[in-house]
Amino acid sequence: MNKREIRIMIVDDELIVRDSLTKWFREDGYRVEAAESSAAALKKLQTGSCSLMLVDIKMPGMDGIELLERVKEIDKNVIVIIITAFASVDTAVKALKQGAYDYITKPIDPDYLDHVVEKALMQHELTLENVRLREVVSELSGATEIIGDSPEIKKVLELVQTVAPNDTTVMIRGESGTGKELVARAIHNGSPRRYFPIVTVNCGAMTETLLESELFGHERGAFTGAQYRRKGKVELADGGTLFLDEVGNIDTKTQMDLLRVIESKQFTRVGGTEVLKSDFRVICATNRDLEEAVKEGSFREDLYYRLNVFTIEMPPLRGRRGDVAKLAHHFLEKYARQMSKDVRSFSPDAMHTLKAYDWPGNVRELENAVERAMVVAQGQTIERQHLPLHTLSAQREEGKRLSDIERHHIEEVLRETAWNISRSAAILDIDRVTLYHKIEKYGLKREQ
């Protein structure tokens, strides 16, 4: 703690008190300022914050308690110690409730003054260090790895930013492998709950009883093999986020239990009687058509409405082809590091193949394809033949379809006319409405 960098402010209407304390702390090596009123103190704070304020409770105009409130509004990390002439429990409690670090009575025992100020400053330093570390952690964990700059993915990121700071339940929908869990993590990392865990439950991978125990935990002896008490994911997510992946696959009994827990934030471990509480935010993901499941009766309508508060649609990779190159390079760099291989680029032919493929397995499939290519690549470039065979054959088949040729041709004309619909329709010899239909059919989007 470098005392020369610590600014202490004395706020008291009595000159003698200001002078005495200023002198006392200057001898200690602190930078000291004095203000004769709350208004003067607030004015001084405009020129720079201070670490600690010693504030007299009784001053004409704005009193010490009001100043304390105002200071905390400006900078909640400033430590305020209230000085009172007569200690009364009421005043002390009021000051402490408003956020004062401590209160001291006049005249002050010099040893106590030194002790309380040193302790307070140590806490101030730890608080600031904590803030700094949180920022670092936040920066590090904030790397969401949602790669891409297509309009589709930009829209997703905008929605993430909008919903993250609120405690709203979010449903992420999209095909398998589109990166729904990454979006869930990005929402968690952008929320005030980011310092608590995000706990993932893969609802699709478990049987009814296993999922129940996984979610709510179990008591010892609750079932065969339950030798120890175990906390469930709902309990572990306390303070943080519960991410329910493949939520559409939950059986009807667990759906009912889950709905109750989401609404009451209370639950009981399997085989237990104690009602436990957990404060968590729910984010869920599904690739199922939940509306259809509700109609069929396999998904509870009430749970559907409870979960479907804010929806984010993850576009399939074929719907954002513009991101394929960026993603492929990202995975190339990732696996080059992991495998310690000096592979730096894709050949034009290989990149063309990657862009042409439809990627039914989405980003996950692309990542696997790049990983495989990295294993077999010998030089610094990934060639077309390094890519998995199905991507190569699909490209050939894709090129042969009549619809592919039509889409390609329309795309070309639109590009040539800078997306002038009337001119493009004239060149293609079709009417504008038909052109609009075809643009929609092929999911064509103007490049930014």
């Binding site: 005392k3 006392w24 200057r26 000085i83 010099p110 030194d114």
Partner: protein
């Protein structure tokens, strides 16, 4: 050469003041002379607290007596005045002080009232009393020469709010404080 003027106040024990001459001269490489002034300490007495206001005493010496000391004209302008008292001192916001000084100023004040072992139920120990007073005198003069409290436990500029703290620290300045005072080590 530095000059330090020792100023006994009230009914202070002359022997105790005399005991400060040599240590001050040696430590600060200064010429130490004893002055004389007739200050009525009763004007600084607070009947409610039964203590003497040290801030007012220092201000009084600064305003009324400093210009009257001929030694200031004859010696260098860097002369420091150390007043010594036997009374219990306070500054208004604190319950007591062992001494006070103007940081980087001319006048400082120490009292041996709270340094006496008999105050704490122990038998009188003149050697211990002189040792404590020396440390406090060095400390307050250190402030007069512009030093702030030192974090080194052994340095005489380390802060001490109890007599036990005074006993724990050394009688000399640490390297950094000595350098600030430009004292040969």
């Amino acid at each position: 050469m530095r000059s330090i003027l020792l100023l006994p106040l009230g009914n202070v024990d002359p022997e105790i003041v005399a005991g400060l001459h040599a240590p001050l001269a040696y430590t600060f490489h200064a010429e130490v002379v004893e002055g004389d002034c007739d200050i009525d300490l009763e004007q600084f007495f607070d009947a409610q607290r039964v203590q003497y206001n040290s801030t007012e005493i220092i201000q009084h010496i600064s305003t009324n007596h400093v210009p009257a000391f001929p030694v200031i004209d004859e010696r260098s302008a860097s002369l420091k005045i150390l007043a010594v008292s036997a009374e219990d001192l306070f500054i208004p916001i604190l319950t007591y002080v062992f001494g006070e000084a103007e940081l980087g100023g001319r006048v400082s004040l120490v009292s041996y009232h709270r340094l006496q072992p008999q105050r704490y139920g122990l038998s009188a120990d003149s050697q211990l009393l002189v040792s404590r007073l020396k440390k406090e005198a060095f400390h307050e003069l250190g402030h007069s020469y512009g030093l702030v409290h030192c974090s080194r436990l052994q340095c005489v500029m380390h802060t001490s709010t109890y007599v036990e703290d005074i006993d724990l620290k050394g009688e000399s300045f640490c390297g950094d404080c000595s350098m600030h005072l430009r004292l040969p080590r």
